[in-house]
């Protein structure tokens, strides 16, 4: 196994040497500081769901990545970059095929994998092949615990978010009693577990736990329990569809306490799924900042609108930043091999539209501000941070 990995990396290295040799004879370029040639085209992978039930998040990420690459290409660089997507359908059982398909395609880096489950399956494969992978959305805590060198993510992990959320509920909102519900998914349960653990130490009380089905339509049993136990707030770990149904049914049964959820629910669909008015006043958290509100991001927002006809949605900005960091490695760092790109990512920082990205040795991003949003007048509005 190790032998193959070494051979694989060596092969990549050889291929890259070939291209840089070619570069030596070609005229110097205007932008690159490395000596790369006009004939070089590098492939940048995308790994995430483009079809299936969870496709929207994957599409947001791919759009962010493609926008960054097309803006890069518009500068007419000496090293061309194309995007090679793999549609994983969000299914961990597809991850092995996906990672190996991208490796066979000789990608130099991958934006993704998008979800935590498929990341758990694909990350070790990219590690074995020595392909840097930068996720714009996988926030599961355990992903950074394996000591992988090629794994990165531009979002803070769920332990930062979950702890921030629990503190925000108890300290900022003054909600001492909290019911913590999750959707039994890898992400939702992971986030809720951190919230439950933090509530034990920060002065709050976890009065009720429940695990609902992400695809269920009737959360009456959970709602009845919450209504009878009257917690000051409900925290939900999961995605927007279930979050919308849950808050709708809670409000219909007359629950008036606070409602908070994480980045999986930070989508306009949360409000429509809730049926509009019931979502009012709900708090949402994300390690991501609202790209449309950032001054540095206005070029990105208008470019995104022009390219796709919609405003950037969740994770688009992160994918854009992640892609630009990799492109910076190619452009400013002159890196054309996976290992050179990885070295650049490890040793440099990149000032993006959502944050300044600096990777820690375990692949997590340093810092980790958790932004808080509130639903006001049918809009998700950024109101501050958890600290």
């Amino acid at each position: 196994m190790k032998v193959i990995a070494v051979v694989g990396i060596a092969a990549m290295g050889l291929a890259a040497c070939g291209s840089s040799k070619k570069a030596a004879t070609s005229p110097p370029t205007t932008t690159g500081s490395g000596g790369t040639g006009s004939g070089t085209t590098l492939k940048l992978g995308f790994f995430g769901a483009l079809t299936g039930a969870d496709a929207q998040l994957g599409i947001n990420i791919e759009d962010g990545e493609k926008l960054a690459v097309s803006q890069y290409s518009a500068t007419n660089p000496s090293v061309k970059v194309t995007v090679v997507p793999f549609d994983s359908q969000g299914d961990p059982a597809q991850a092995n095929n996906g990672a190996n398909t991208l490796i066979n395609d000789k990608v130099v880096a991958v934006i993704g994998p998008a979800f935590s489950g498929e990341s758990a399956a694909a990350d070790p494969i990219f590690e074995a092949a020595g392909i840097p992978n930068v996720s714009a959305s996988a926030t599961n805590v355990a992903l950074a615990s394996h000591g992988y060198k090629y794994f990165h993510r531009v979002l803070a992990a769920d332990d930062a978010q979950g702890a921030g959320d629990a503190d925000y509920l108890v300290k900022t909102l003054g909600a001492k009693t909290v019911a913590v519900i999750d959707d039994s998914s890898t992400y939702g349960e992971g986030l809720a577990t951190v919230v439950r653990a933090t509530l034990k130490t920060n002065g709050g009380t976890d009065v009720f736990d429940d695990h609902i089905a992400a695809t269920g339509t009737d959360y009456g049993a959970t709602v009845n329990n919450i209504v009878s136990k009257k917690p000051a707030a409900v925290f939900f770990g999961g995605y927007y569809d279930a979050a919308g149904r849950l808050i709708n049914q809670l409000r219909a049964k007359g629950y008036t306490g606070k409602f908070m959820s994480g980045d999986g629910s930070e989508d306009a669909k949360f409000i429509t799924d809730a049926g509009g008015a019931p979502a009012a006043g709900a708090f949402l958290s994300c390690a991501c900042a609202d790209a449309t509100k950032l001054p540095a991001a206005q070029a990105f927002v208008s470019g995104y609108r022009a390219a796709y006809g919609t405003a950037p949605a969740i994770y688009s900005g992160e994918a854009y930043d992640a892609t630009n960091f990799v492109l910076a490695a190619i452009k400013s760092g002159g890196a054309t091999t996976p290992s050179a790109i990885n070295t650049y990512l490890a040793n440099n920082s990149y000032s993006g539209i959502t944050k300044t990205i600096k990777f820690l040795p375990n692949g997590n991003v340093s810092g980790g501000t958790i932004y808080v949003y509130e639903v006001q007048n049918g809009q998700i509005v950024q109101i501050g941070t958890t600290s």
Binding site: G52, A53, A55, Q56, S184, D209, D210, H211, I212, A213, T215, G216, T217, D218, Y219, G220, A221, T222, N224, N225, V227, S228, D241, G244, R245, N248, A252, K253, G254, K269, T272, D273, A274, G275, G276
Partner: protein, 313 residues
């Protein structure tokens, strides 16, 4: 184990369970009648239901209903919803019979082949909505608002709770009378008992089968409309989980038996809520299936037995 919350939540659980159970019961009729006559698990019946929920959504969008309407307008819209849902679900049921089952019967295919054909048809119907409409959940306007009519113990009973349970029971009684007293009902019972002999006795087998599918579809349409009114949400795969439960309800009550479908539906609706309050929501579905297995071990043909033929009993 939270026996304490079972006690404190008993009344709300009971109300919610009966509401959900009434929808299951109506939904289960399609499974139970087709099984009673054809001995076939109509796997695509969940999509018959889904199309009904989509039809109501389309109608409400067309009528531009956004907030709870009042008075006669409300009654008119509700009636229109029921009719449209029944038409949509009924037509899909007929289409299924025509495309996915009848050709197989003509070729003497096995019931296993018919099951696979039904699964295929189910994929097709779901994907048509998933691809050409949306895979996201879609919200419907609330028609009845949240009007509490009376309190049952600690539970608030709302007007849509009442609408679901009363409509459900009324449709069940109506159908039972239909099968028990009309000529058409005799035909269904005859075919269910012995298709060969009933053909010899002058029963038009094809027509009876078509009617069976149609009635199952109409009832699924009513269930779909009630589902929309109560949960105001639908999705391309909305039929799957309720379909599985409705089929389980049919088996639990005694497949082929109309009263069994009602009993099975209500029992499963209640079990889901009682089970959730005792063991937590994550054990909701396992509770249902464990009870099903236990019941079948002691009563191998369900609570009331297989007896479409004895519907008048």
């Amino acid at each position: 184990m939270h026996l304490h919350s079972f006690i404190t939540l008993f009344w709300p659980s009971t109300v919610d369970g009966l509401v959900l159970g009434s929808i299951y019961a109506l939904f289960a009729l399609g499974y139970t009648m087709v099984y009673g006559v054809l001995k076939l698990i109509n796997f695509a019946h969940s999509e018959v239901f889904m199309v009904g929920t989509m039809a109501v959504l389309g109608l409400l969008n067309l009528l531009n209903v956004h907030s709870p309407p009042g008075g006669f307008r409300l009654i008119g819209i509700l009636l229109l919803c029921v009719v449209v849902a029944m038409l949509a679900s009924g037509s899909v049921a007929l289409l299924l019979e025509r495309i996915a089952y009848r050709p197989l019967r003509r070729r003497g295919a096995s019931r296993l082949a018919a099951l696979i054909s039904a699964i295929g048809a189910s994929f097709v119907l779901q994907e048509i909505f998933g691809i050409y409409y949306t895979r996201n959940a879609v919200e419907l306007p609330s028609l009845l608002g949240h009007a509490v009519v009376f309190k049952l113990g600690s539970a608030e009973v709302t007007s849509d709770d009442l609408l679901v349970v009363i409509t459900g029971l009324a449709m069940m009684v109506l159908l039972e009378r239909l099968v028990a007293t009309t000529k058409f009902g005799r035909g269904i019972r005859a075919v269910a008992q012995d298709p060969e002999t009933s053909t010899l006795m002058g029963v038009n087998l094809d027509r009876i089968i078509v009617y069976t599918f149609l009635i199952g579809g109409l009832m699924a349409g009513v269930a779909a409309m009630l589902f929309d009114v109560h949960y105001h949400q639908t999705q391309f795969n909305i039929g799957q989980l309720p379909g599985l439960k409705a089929f389980t309800a049919a088996v639990l009550g005694g497949i082929g038996n109309l009263r069994g479908a009602l009993l099975g539906g209500l029992v499963i609706g209640l079990l889901e809520f009682y089970g959730s309050s005792i063991f937590g929501s994550q054990w909701r579905d396992p509770t249902v299936f464990v009870v099903l297995v236990l019941v079948l071990l002691f009563r191998p043909t369900g609570l009331l037995g297989e007896s479409l033929t004895q519907a008048r009993a």
